[in-house]
Amino acid sequence: MTTQHTMNWQAIDADPRFQALHRKKTLFLWGLMIFSVIYYFLLPVGAAYFPEIFKIRVWGPVNIGILFALSEFIVAWFIAVLYSRRANAVFDSMAQEIINDAHNIGA
């Protein structure tokens, strides 16, 4: 914490490694976020405007609506796992490299 004032934040921000992390993260996060929002709102919109599709029975009394609602859970978990794998494998190590070198950047 004693080094708090020696960091050159502008220089770190401008560093190509940080810019690369920023680009990768932004693209990945927004992609996932937009996909998940669209997928989620398909459920209330589908139930309200396309009930006939939701009512189609596919497995005994199990209809498309029930399967679609269950798929919302699977998709949410899938996104969580996808993000955390990516963050653990890629973002963390990219950030660590910047952290290790932070004192020297722009000094």
Partner: protein, 675 residues
Amino acid sequence: MHTTHRTKSWLAMPLLTMLSPAVWAGEGAVADEFKLLTVAVFGAIIALTIAITYWAAKKTNTTAEFYAAGRSISGAQNGWAIAGDYLSAASFLGIAGLISLYGYDGFMYSVGFLVAYITVLLVIAEPCRNIGKYTLGDILAFRNDPKKTKTIAAISTITVSIFYLTAQMVGGGVLIKTLIGIDYEVSVIGVGILMLAYVVFGGMVATTWVQIVKAILLVVASLVLVVLVWAPYGFSLPGFLDSVVHNDGVQKQVAKLLGNSATGMTPEELGQRFLEPGLFLKNPIDQISLGMALVLGTAGLPHILMRFFTVPNAQEARKSVIWAMAIIGGFYVITLFLGLGAATHVGPANIIALDKGGNMAAPILAQYLGGGAHSILGNFFLAFVAAVAFATIVAVVAGLVLASASAMAHDIYVGVIRGNHATQEEQVRAARISSVIVGIAAIVIGIMAKGQNVAHLVGMAFAVAASSNLPAVFLTLYWKRCNTGGVILGMLTGATAAIALVMVSPNMTYPKEVVKAANKVLQGEPAADAKPAVAAKPGEGIVCELFAVCAKAEAAKPATPSSPAKPGALEKLTTLNAQLPTLTDADAIAKVNKEIGKLSKDIAKAQDDLKQYAGKTTSIMGLEKPFFLLKNPGLISIPLGFLMVMLGSLLYRDPRAEAMWEELYVRQNTGIHAA
């Protein structure tokens, strides 16, 4: 240490209050002979949480320990604690109840609560952990004017928490009364004192561990019930749903919900209809609005944000959301089985008889699965679920009080009044005093709000969080131009709009409607002529779907045959009373007596309503009918909040916010210098 010594006598109080026989005044779902068993189960769970608090009190000395459990909670532990915070009585009893009464729509309702965590995971948890310290105010003050933003963040935190808290207190009081018959006031005071003990003595350490224990109990209890419900069908989904479709009680409930349009449907069609959308959620625009408030509001709830400061770093914050999503999602999937199980085994009619909102579905299902109302195991199950529900309310309220107290003590007292110059001891003392103030306020509000319509308050808390906190946090974190002016304008307009719209929405009580419904119960309905089918009418535009200023679109109505007059409850009661002396069969007499009891209850309720609203024609806002037509204001207030943060930022010059941008952006992404 005198703190821990004092803990003992303090903590014994609520326990004694709960055990005293004098408070078992009313009658709940538990029969008298099993009340001792219920007391024992409650006592055991309360004792467990008190032991946790006693242990935690020894580890709560510094500010970081009080507010953030010394940042010593692991990702998995925090995930359980978040689940504990989130699975409030409203969600675990409420959603099981909705599913038991309305089938598919209840399940659909639960999806948004899980999806909300994707926002938390992707854009909020890690950056907030990296740049924040204890509160929402800390995050906003990083680059904006600290005193101004901490003030407004504290106001917003306390507002959101008080809404949420009032709903929990009132809901909890009613629930405990229905379950085991403890007086409303006594259970509100019991919840308040117990919660204060956790927070004041054990701070975040105790609150976290109580949440974890409670979440585990809740999940274990639900798993046991699901196995009991599902095992007879060999854990087959179609097999289980088949039993729902062919259930007589379910078919009757659907026929009741559909009214005239159920004519001509076969029993099987009626049963299948329970698994299709549209029995509860009728207005798609309202659903989208609610969805927005859930998906964006969760990430702005102060007591959820605060949880991310209890873990050592951003990686653990990430892990905690993953754990929370697994637990919360798994729990809601399980709820589908609990709700449908309650519908088939207990029956919607019996569930409604105990509680109109269906909140008793899960507890009564537990009683049934254990062997019924007269078995020891059944009552043990019921007592266990009730005790977990009680622990849930106490734990959720504790988290909310801690969030409000930290806003008062850390943001306002230390940050604004003392200019960040306060010793550890002074800060912890301020935090404890603030907790007591908020806790007492919670008890007083809980008692004052008895019998009030508070169902809209949770939705309002989510809507304010989504329209005020989230835009401010989000744009502070991700938009270079964002500054103090935007944060203040956006938070004020977002919150005001959300609250104002709810005040004129259908959530409020409109006396004319109540009086009309009460008269219908008492007098019945006159005979109606057959009506031809009516074609759908298009509305006059999107504005008309939101505000009562022009004609709304109307759905097509099928033709209805003429119906005979329906007798009111008063007339039915007279008929039954006349019938009673003529009956000789004991079973028939019992049945009629039960019916009479139910009718008398309905009549008393309707007469109460008529008395309460006699001479009144308008809601507390002076409206005869809602002006805003949605139950949730998110659709309007959330975009407004974002827009106003942007507008305020563009109109205001704030050199500090600009100069700090690179530091904030680098630190939120890397965690350099994280607290």
